[in-house]
């Protein structure tokens, strides 16, 4: 520790058995270092408790700045999960002409089965489709009123995996299928999936943009709060520097204050997201149920809590470091 050594004899003072500082073992130095950190951490915490209003306000600002992008992220991830179940499939719905004869359909299926670009072919007859509709959508009553089955025969076609990822080839396949005389229309399920992917991409970008902007805000808010704290403890800093406190020693308590602001801000943000999830979740689930979906908002979870706390802690620490770096070096006795 003591880089500046004094070479003369220790003062002849029996009570203070000298040379204590220059001959300290590494272990005791390390132990003292951690002791000092622990002390700083708890002292900074108590200092915040002395001014609860100011501290809580700073924490809330941090929390809001973290919660907004976190909520957006949770929303986007939930939708991502919803679309994820079809993500890799370029499934096509082939609507056949109404009134197509079973024989003709069978030969079409045979022909398609021989096409090695296709992996799966499922046939859904009009009556099967009607049954499914009656059972699922709650249209049962209404559908019995129909004289005639209005639904066309349908083939669900899934291309082989190699083609799936290759959009031009899938589109080529769609064209080929559409040319079949028996085929009325080919709908590529991937189309709307692609659109949704694009929207989700935008959502993700907005999350990053918002997160970045608000993080900058957190840095400034924490930095400003720390600057005020430094101003308030000016006298103390000067005295500490005069008795040989290094800049690091002076800096440490302020860095801990920043860290605490960030950590608690992150914790509050997590709570906010959880509450918003509960509140929104009920409505979302009810809405999804109307569409026969078991879609539910994806929870932010424990991992999300840890991420928010870590992010908050890092932002608080960096914000404090920025303020401290500028202001403490200027304060010289």
């Amino acid at each position: 520790m003591s880089r500046y050594k004094i070479e003369t004899d220790a003062p002849p003072q029996p009570r203070r058995s000298g040379a204590v500082e220059s001959r300290r073992s590494l272990v005791s130095i390390v132990r003292a270092y951690f002791h000092n950190h622990r002390k700083n951490a708890s002292e900074s915490f108590h200092r915040m408790a002395v001014e609860p209003l100011q501290s809580v306000m700073t924490m809330l600002v941090v929390a809001i700045a973290l919660a907004l992008p976190a909520m957006l992220y949770v929303g986007v991830s939930s939708l991502q999960q919803l679309s994820g179940s079809w993500d890799s499939s370029a499934q096509m719905t082939v609507f056949l002409k109404k009134g197509a004869k079973d024989k003709a359909i069978n030969s079409l299926i045979k022909e398609l089965e021989s096409n090695d670009e296709l992996a799966e072919i499922h046939f859904i007859s009009p009556s099967q489709a009607l049954d499914a509709l009656q059972n699922s959508a709650g249209f049962g009553e209404a559908l019995t009123l129909l004289d005639d089955n209005p639904l066309p025969p349908v083939l669900i076609v899934v291309p082989v995996a190699v083609i799936e990822a290759d959009v031009p080839r899938v589109e080529q396949l769609v064209k080929t299928l559409a040319k079949q005389p028996l085929v009325d229309e080919v709908q590529l399920d991937m189309k709307w999936l692609q659109r949704m992917q694009k929207i989700l991409d935008i959502g993700r970008q907005i999350t990053i943009l918002l997160g970045g902007t608000l993080s900058l805000g957190v840095l400034l808010v924490v930095g400003n709060t720390i600057r005020l704290a430094i101003e308030n403890r000016r006298e103390e800093i000067l005295v500490v520097k005069l008795v040989g406190g290094t800049n690091g020693f002076v800096r440490r308590p302020f860095l801990y204050i920043g860290l605490w602001y960030g950590v608690f801000g992150g914790l509050i943000a997590w709570l906010g997201v959880v509450i918003a999830q509960f509140w929104l979740g009920v409505t979302v689930t009810r809405l999804a149920a109307l569409y026969q979906s078991d879609f539910a908002l994806q929870g932010i979870g424990l991992a999300g809590m840890l991420v928010l706390i870590a992010l908050g802690g890092i932002l608080g620490l960096v914000g404090a470091a920025l303020a401290v770096g500028r202001h403490i070096a200027q304060l010289e006795p």
């Binding site: 005791s28 500490v240 008795v243």
Partner: protein, 224 residues
């Protein structure tokens, strides 16, 4: 221990606070630094504390040239020097004990050592019973003695005092001077800036007189 060799200090505004000051103070020696206000007493102490750097000449402390000491080493240097301020500079947000412990805390001393030495220092200035109080609750003389305890708790080789008896009555002042002599007697170099002529003459120690930045007299007065 302290050697001034033609040291000058000119402030950026052109004012020359010290001009070509030379003197030496040995280990175990005590001296009073006196002179009219603005004569350069504070500047001289600030140079030893490295709160200011000399603009000319050489200043050596314990054989080390302070001009060559890097900024980052200043804190470690200051840990070897004890300072008593006129306005004592105690911190009122902590106990007497924690005030005195400060120089040891900044150097990362172990808790056990801190306790032992703080109690020893407080005992030395006769205020051990007040360790748990806030300095606000103490009288001016007691606060000054706490300041002295803080200056000596880490057993510095050099003890500087800037008007340590400024606000105190003669009786208390004499008490504090006796404390300084005690430290001198165990090998500490003690330099006390004061304009209390009566006190100086009653002590019979060496006197350094500054006049407009020049050192007039370095001779030791005849001891009693």
């Amino acid at each position: 221990m302290i050697e001034f060799d033609n040291v000058s200090k000119r402030y950026p505004d052109g004012h020359e606070a010290l001009s070509q000051v030379s003197f030496a103070l040995d280990a175990g020696e005590m001296a009073f630094l006196t002179g009219h206000s603005g004569a350069g007493k504070s500047t001289l102490l600030k140079l030893i504390m490295l709160m200011e750097r000399p603009s000319g000449g050489q200043l050596r402390v314990n054989g080390k040239n302070l001009n060559r000491l890097h900024k980052s080493q200043i804190p470690y240097y200051r840990r070897r020097v004890g300072v008593v301020f006129q306005n004592h500079q105690l911190l009122f947000d902590r106990t007497v004990f924690d005030n005195v412990a400060l120089p040891m805390q900044v150097s990362g001393a172990q808790h056990r050592d801190i306790e032992r030495r703080v109690r020893a220092a407080l005992d030395k200035v006769g205020l051990l019973s007040k360790e748990k109080l806030n300095p606000v609750q103490l009288s001016g003389g007691e606060q000054q003695r706490i300041g002295i305890a803080r200056a000596v708790v880490h057993t510095p080789r050099i003890l500087l005092a800037d008007e340590p008896t400024g606000n105190l009555d003669p009786e208390l002042s004499a008490e504090i001077m006796t404390l300084f002599e005690d430290f001198r007697n165990v090998g500490v170099s003690v330099l006390v800036a004061t304009h209390d002529i009566a006190l100086i003459s009653s002590m019979g120690e060496r006197v350094l007189t500054l006049d407009h930045g020049r050192l007039l007299e370095t001779g030791a007065l005849v001891s009693v």
